[in-house]
Symmetry: C2
């Protein structure tokens, strides 16, 4: 199954002509998931090869405008562009408490009707995910008004004590969890874990045993032991190649640190870890003061989790994309990459810089 | 005093890479007023020659997303880019009832703090400005929550029966009014009227009378009659050139028609009338069904008001900007101009098409 990640916006604080506000799309066959939706995401989508009408799940890491303010407009435009023949499914939206009220007010006051239903599933943050002034008062988030006409009731998802994670859902191919981050307001990271899949049947071996393609193949693939006509017993492990480990993609919201063990556990061994790096190492104090990370801080997370690839994004708008950088540029985004690479010396982790419209394929892993 | 109008977005329904969502800036010396603020307006501002930090008044014609969803982000970014030495003034925001609640919720839930105060002055629509389903229920708009920390109390402005207009404010150089439009939800047009200014002193004549520049000049300019040392009486009308008539700029929100006489009266003789033309004349039925206008409908308003220049904007995204049109293009935006021009034959009204980043100077009028 093919799988890739496309960055629609890699800038911090606000969208600029050079870097859109945060938005990342994870595509697999039949699924198109959007992580964060800063202002202008719908326009970035139009500029990309992706189709807005395919998005069926949306994840909002935190409620800062550069991750949120594009959401009402995106939903309206997706709705306008839905082909009438395509049956509109429910769009599931996951994000911190407050998201449901924001969307309801924005859609209601703008008189927006959608051609598909949507549901907002809210993550209940813990009180230590931000300084006290970053917590919303319950009067702001507990909306008493009724559902928007296209809104379906959503769940409220609480932290699971044992895993220190939020279980968002389990579906056919993936489990998706969220974990806690520390930022100026409560922020979350998301972990998409593909299930391991059974290895291929060794057809060479099967032929030697006298089996031709048919129902017995399916039984073996499903893990059943079979008995041949000649009485020989064949176990799946004898004719199956090793299992194909599922891929893991982790996308962090804004943060100056992880909170608890949930994130480290969830992200262990990730194929791709997408982490913010708002400012260069030299500005670490300022970055942390604003709830943000530097390349070395991102690298430390990647090192702890032993990930294959660390992708940096959410750059301060002072860092121009490489293609627009002048030789004399003081703020060199490549320097951010070098800082992360230095901090990861001696590990196998590779470092990439995200740019708007970069697509990273996530290849199927070789068997372990 | 120089005065110009810059179009930041000229597309309808949603922002696209070719046409931003609705946003128009009126600039005069020291004033920078934004009319509508669709998603992406802040990015369009960055691409233009204008400075977001100069915007001191904002007018929202109606609450559809393509006129509104850029507002919270714009305020946040203006706030980020304010120079610390510039004293932050109150930003006054005018728009339909519901705007105050929308902004409060968006800023509050996103944890946005502004470095300047703002006030939302709400226009109370009448019940006949849209079909019944377009009216907001009072429970949605009457927010009981307290002001945002940077919010100052705003006025609620009601229709004045006699003028059939809403008086927004009168300041040093301008009176600004709003008038009612019919659309899918309550929509408004805005009329900016510059005051007439006294003509220049005819210095040639004054010298002949033996007057040298001094306090008497000022008295004459202020309309006072003076008596010279030789007993001669000089009336201002004898030495002043004719008054310079104030300019008038009218900007319409989405509409399929005016409602009442207010708009026609307010816009009479306008220098510039900016009117939507979402679809070509051939689609009039569909345009009206969606609360929109065609070029001929816009031209009819311009004809009734005897305006100098009609500027069309808010084009369906099917109409590409002229510079991007292919010869084979079925939907030719120039056809919209021709349709308005045809409908205005026999009048002195000129027609322009707005494009993103077009700036129209509004020259001082010659004396009548
Ligand atoms: Zn951010
Ligand atoms: Zn943030
Ligand atoms: Zn519109
Ligand atoms: Zn509209």
């Amino acid at each position: 199954m093919s799988m890739d990640l496309t960055f629609l916006g890699t800038g911090s604080a606000y969208p600029s002509p050079h870097r859109g506000a945060s938005a990342v799309v994870l595509r697999t066959e039949g699924e198109c998931w959007l992580f964060d939706c800063g202002e202008g995401t719908q326009t970035q989508l139009m500029k990309s090869q992706l189709k807005a009408g395919k998005i069926n799940k949306i994840f909002i890491s935190h409620l800062h405008g550069d991750h949120l303010f594009g959401l009402p407009g995106l939903l309206c435009t997706v709705s306008l562009n839905y082909s009438p023949t395509q049956p509109p499914n429910c769009v599931d939206i996951y994000g911190p408490v407050g998201l449901r009220h924001f969307l309801r007010v924005a859609l209601e006051l703008s008189g927006s009707q959608l051609v598909f239903p949507y549901a907002v599933h809210e993550l209940e943050p813990t009180g230590d995910q931000c300084p006290p002034e970053g917590l919303l008062s319950p009067t702001v988030t507990q909306s008493s008004e009724s559902l928007h006409p296209q809104e379906r009731p959503g769940r409220t998802i609480c932290l699971e004590g044992e895993s220190d994670c939020y279980l968002l859902f389990e579906e056919k191919h993936f489990t998706v969890k969220a974990f806690r981050l520390f930022h100026r307001i409560p922020s979350f990271g998301f972990c998409v874990q593909e299930y391991d899949r059974p290895g291929r049947l060794n057809t060479h071996l099967l032929k030697e045993l006298g089996l031709t393609p048919g129902p017995l193949y399916g039984q073996l693939k499903n893990g059943e032991t079979i008995t041949l006509e000649n009485g020989q017993v064949v176990k799946p492990s004898e004719v199956l190649e090793p299992a194909i480990p599922g891929r893991k993609v982790c996308i962090f919201g804004d943060c100056s640190s992880l909170l608890g063990e949930g994130g480290l556990k969830a992200c262990r061994g990730a194929d791709i870890l997408v982490h913010e790096a708002t400012l260069a190492d030299g500005f670490q104090e300022r970055a942390v003061e604003h709830g943000h990370s530097t390349p070395s801080m991102a690298a430390a997370v990647a090192r702890s989790c032993e990930v294959r690839r660390l992708v940096l994004y959410h750059f301060s708008q002072r860092y121009k994309p490489v293609s627009l950088q002048k030789d004399s540029e003081e703020d060199d985004v490549l320097e951010l990459q070098r800082q992360a690479e230095d901090a990861l010396k001696g590990t196998a982790t590779e470092v990439s810089l995200a740019e708007d419209f970069l697509t990273l394929p996530i290849p199927i892993k070789r068997s372990n």
